[in-house]
Symmetry: C2
């Protein structure tokens, strides 16, 4: 629960917001709050903390925003991140979510939890609202700056599972982000990846999609290297910020607000980990908890493990 | 003059618009119009065609949008593109501009005109409006999908010259597009390019710039590989299109209208070539002619040749 620029107040307000907005889920979830238990009790009040769906896990250290990810993860054993991963690994919790130090979260995801066999690196996704309806999913958005074609092929499989089981999109359409719609266009990476995706029978491959088509065309899942995905994500964020700053009100552009999405799961690891934006406010934290719930419900980790096992055979 | 989706009507309206809007330039320019001379005379009228700044060059073939660039350039010797490059090579004109088949234009630029010694590949730039004031320049935006670090280093030099002599920006600040501001962040390409740019004494290097900072921060010239630049450009275009479609009126976003920019020079070749958007309307063609004038006035090709010569020494 510690972690993020607005911790702990916004985080705890987010917990309260989740409880108020999702009363139907409270019978089936237990919220383990990792942080200074005295502060948490004071903020939430004794009555709430006594509820059976609230568990306080006292943590007396904090991994700061600029702490070295590996060192701090190993040394600050009393931090919410290190302790949270410990609980996750032991199976005491089903999912661990935090708006804290992303690097330390990735260390936990890859070192403490580990990558699914058959996957070389985990991947993170982002959601981009499409003008014509549902949101689209784009991955990777930042942890794999340099990719091999085989990685994009894996992203397509993982992304399809994510779209199908978490976002309930049947037979999601996969697009390869490229700089031309024709098969022979693009970089060495995308030209080779195109061939792999075309042959991949586990996905519903649409073909290449240009960046101008992300927000209004048919791809439910767009795959790209993490450099390109990060560029796209941050450019979209910057457009939304300018639109906000200029006082433009528009219901489509409102959907770009990061608060609505609650973060991204780290996909391709052996458990459920959610990374939220460092600037998360109460609404974002509430949605982070809801996303955590949906990810556990979807059993997406098992689905990814199965898909990779059948590839290995 | 033939070439582009709206040719010849919009092209010729663009010529008329240039004549009306820039009377001060008519003493110093000669407009060579490559196309069917009968149609041109009919459209512009005999009086205008008799002016000393108008020259009609009759062309009876057209390289279509989907023609094979190399083959059509070689075979359609009576097309406006092939004939235009012939005139340019012979020094009968100082600059050749067209909204026609981009591939054929690039064949002309690299084969008929040739690349400056010391440069492996030419580069094209795009202009992105910055909220805080002047426009920014980004390159490459599409012809070099795969780049080596040395290429980004050259783009930085060429971009600085372009910004200084065509856009009149003194000591233009150069940013390296990256997915983190810190020096050690990024892909293999950007990490290595960062080192080269830092050591490059011909440029005013700011450091890394994220895509969220393109539209509102301090870099006058942003360098990136052509894949990333093309993704950024098309994403910006798509945002602008959505803003237009949703009826949002805003003077900052109006500046994204491609009509305002008139195209991009092909930089790093031994003469002046301007490529305009295939969908160019009259306003865009007018601005293409103005840009062509400015590029010749700036003598940018000589400046690039000089810079490369002194690198070679």
């Amino acid at each position: 629960m510690w972690g993020g620029d607005n911790s702990p107040a916004c985080n705890l307000n987010g917990v309260q917001s989740f409880i108020e907005n999702h009363p139907d889920l409270l019978d089936s979830v237990s919220l383990f709050l990792f942080g200074d238990s005295v502060s948490i009790s004071e903020h939430l009040g004794e009555e709430l903390c006594a509820k059976k769906y609230i568990q306080l896990i006292d943590c007396q250290e904090v991994i700061e925003y600029n702490d070295h990810p590996v060192k701090s993860f190993l040394q600050k054993t009393e931090s919410s991140i290190t302790k949270g991963f410990h609980y996750l690994k032991e199976g005491k919790i089903d999912v661990f979510a935090s708006a804290g130090n992303t690097g330390a979260m990735m260390v936990g995801a890859t070192q403490a939890i580990g990558v699914v066999e058959g996957i070389s690196r985990p991947v993170i996704a982002s959601v981009l609202p499409r003008e014509c309806g549902n949101d689209g999913i784009i991955m990777d958005v930042g942890i794999n700056a340099d990719c091999k074609p085989e990685m994009l092929d894996k992203f397509a499989v993982i992304g399809s599972i994510y779209a199908e089981y978490v976002y309930r999109i049947e037979s999601p359409k996969v697009g390869l982000l490229n700089i031309g719609e024709e098969e022979e266009k693009g970089s060495i990476l995308t030209k080779t990846a195109h061939k792999l995706l075309k042959e991949n029978k586990r996905i519903n491959f649409l073909g290449n999609i240009e960046s101008r088509g992300i927000l209004n065309e048919g791809a439910d899942v767009i795959v790209c290297d993490g450099f390109t995905g990060n560029v796209i994500l941050k450019q979209a964020e910057s457009f939304y910020e300018i639109i906000e700053r200029r006082g433009i009100k528009d219901e489509y552009f409102d959907r770009f607000n990061y608060e609505n999405y609650g973060g991204t799961p780290v996909l391709g690891i052996n458990s459920n980990v959610i990374i939220a934006h460092g600037i998360s406010n109460a609404k974002a934290i509430c949605n982070m908890i809801k996303l955590s719930h949906d990810v556990v419900e979807s059993d997406i980790t098992s689905k990814i493990v199965e898909a990779m096992n059948s590839t290995l055979v």
